[in-house]
Amino acid sequence: MPPPEQRDEVEMLSLMLLIRRFEERASQQYQAQKIGGFCHLYIGQEAVVCGAVAAARPDDYLITAYRDHAHALARGTTADACMAELFGKATGCSRGLGGSMHFFDKEHHMYGGHAIVAAHVPLAAGMAFASKYRDEERVTLCFFGDGAINQGAFHEALNLAGLYKLPIVFICENNLFAMGTSVERSTSLKEIVERAEGYNIPGTVIDGMNFREVRDKLAEIIDSIRKDPHPAFAEVRTYRYRGHSMSDPASYRTKEQLEEFRLHDPIIRLRAQLTREGKLTNEQFDKLDKEAKETALASVKFAEESPEPPLEKLYDYTYVNGASA
């Protein structure tokens, strides 16, 4: 596959559009009570996972927390499979058993979708351990929020990754808030990235509203890891436009702050860059956006028409049969 720089930026722009339109639909369907449980939207943060995916190989391991719809879509899980999962249907990426917070797609190297804050960070270290154990040229991308860095699991995983020189990038999606708690109120530190020093892990700050910066800086990190396995830490500064979850009015932040970030909207930004460079016309953009909207809408129809997981299979997911041959 082509090196990151070559990956078609227009394609990545349409991916960001798909993510946004998909989540707008999801939000609408949640309000219509077609979707249950908790639902956390990624709108505003699209450049982070898209930049990371553009910088990585499709078979690099990817794992994240519960704000995970975009990570699956970015990895190639279809909008149909994602929406069906939200609807709890058998055609969902987790067969309707995981729900919004637990998206999985083995085929596309999407390893979840994990809802206990920071509990997946040790899992990521274990995946990186496995690729090193097998001498694979594989890098693990571990996404988590700013709220995760004060959990013991985060601390233990970073120390272990540093100790064993594991090929992993810890990607902290710093959107300034953990639910209603700002980073200043959760973390005894000026800059999150400094925490990596406590494990002798190199850290980088990245503007998460800028697709090209995310892609290029992560590409550099990932390539250096491929050459010589080691952990790296990236604090990617971004913002979620919506509340923490569908039930959160987000009254803890100012309208000004939100507007400020909207000015740097990652989709508008990449579109402008591409247009300026003559790589994209307005017509082309509108077409991409129209396609994204159609795909998102179609996914709702697909989810609605999909079957529920069969009741009689209720007991089939607790244990697998058989043993190692």
Binding site: G36, G37, F38, G88, K89, S94, G96, L97, G98, G99, M101, H102, H114, A115, I116, V117, A118, A119, G147, A148, N150, Q151, G152, A153, A178, M179, G180, T181, R185, S186, T187, Y252, E308, P309, L311, L314, Y315, Y317, T318
Partner: protein
């Protein structure tokens, strides 16, 4: 008496105990500025200020341990777990430091702490967020555990828990937060002792033992049984899992000779297993039928609503169990 919600009842209990004792404080995620993820602590920051209503980072093990340490030196912490599913990252603090300190110190350090928050399956939250922890914590000596089902019990038990000189877990139910019930006026000092079950309905043919989310279920089923099958069911709400009100249990079973236990936790080594053991050990000859239990199916909780409902105890399962013990 007034009608208030389970959520308001808890909020009143917190406010009253905070007002009563300057050593009481509330600590947890989003309890202060956000007024609680489920709004149980609504208005407390405004009234008692940031010294006593304290927001924390997502560090359950850390702040649960802080609570135990503060209790060692005379404070009376109330630690909120946003849900008890998250108490698992603090498990060591809850099962080692809180309940063992009194013994390990030869009686020098008791730990007057309250751990509270919603427990048990809510609605489509999936496997990681649906844990019913009562049987796990009930196994640990040194802990007390209550599981209020009504606004009145919620207020009375939480107030008692906060005043108790031992670690107490108040396991609330997210699905009950908005339910309503009659509670004494605010000026009335409502304290409900730990370890006292309550007969929520009188009956003669069978005893249905329940707690927390399964109490409304049991009461509804009892009505159906009365009207549809002429079975008179007695409904006993344990209210406290530990200490367990064995006396009340035996009294009812000695009368009905038939028992069904309906619980919200997992079946294997669940609360009902212990209750069953105690009953047959004490009054084996009084039993006219085997004791039946209705608990969750023994599978991780699926997200899909229909599957989730199939995992949870429900009227159909409870009625079937009652029929079984009544041989109808």
């Amino acid at each position: 008496m007034r009608e208030i919600t389970y959520r308001q009842a808890l909020n009143e209990a917190l406010a009253e105990e905070l007002a009563r004792d300057p050593n009481v404080f509330l600590m947890g995620e989003e309890v202060a500025e956000y007024n609680g993820a489920y709004k149980v602590s609504q208005g407390l920051l405004e009234r008692f200020g940031p010294r006593r209503i304290i927001d924390t980072p997502i560090s359950e093990n850390g702040f649960a341990g802080m609570g135990v340490g503060a209790a060692m030196v005379g404070l009376r912490p109330i630690i909120e777990f946003m849900t008890f599913s998250f108490s698992f990252v603090a498990f060591d603090q809850v099962v080692n430091n809180a309940p063992n300190m009194l013994t390990m110190s030869g009686g020098q350090f008791n730990i007057p702490i309250t751990f509270r928050g919603p427990n048990g399956p809510a609605h489509q939250l999936g496997a990681t967020h649906s844990h019913a922890t009562e049987c796990l914590y009930a196994n640990v000596p040194g802990l007390k555990i209550c599981t209020p089902a009504t606004p009145r019990d919620a207020k009375g038990l939480l107030k008692t828990a906060i005043r108790d000189n031992n670690p107490v877990l108040v396991l609330e139910s997210e699905l009950l937060y908005s339910s309503k019930g009659m509670v004494e006026p605010e000026d009335f000092e409502l304290l409900i002792p730990l370890g006292e079950a309550e007969l929520k309905r009188e009956g003669s043919d069978v005893t249905i033992i329940c707690y927390a989310q399964t109490v409304p279920l049991a009461l509804a089923v009892a009505e159906t049984l009365e009207s549809d099958e002429e079975i008179s069911a007695e409904v006993l709400d344990l209210r406290s899992i530990k200490p367990l009100d064995l006396e009340a249990i035996l009294k009812s079973v000695s009368k009905t000779h038939r028992v069904v236990i309906v619980e919200q936790d997992r079946p294997f080594c669940g609360v009902g297993a212990e209750v069953c053991y105690r009953i047959q050990r004490e009054i084996f000859d009084a039993l006219d039928a085997p004791i039946m239990r209705v608990a969750q199916e023994d599978v991780p909780m699926p997200y899909n609503e229909r599957l989730e409902q199939a995992v949870l105890p429900n009227a159909e399962k409870l009625i079937a169990a009652v029929r079984k013990v009544c041989y109808t």
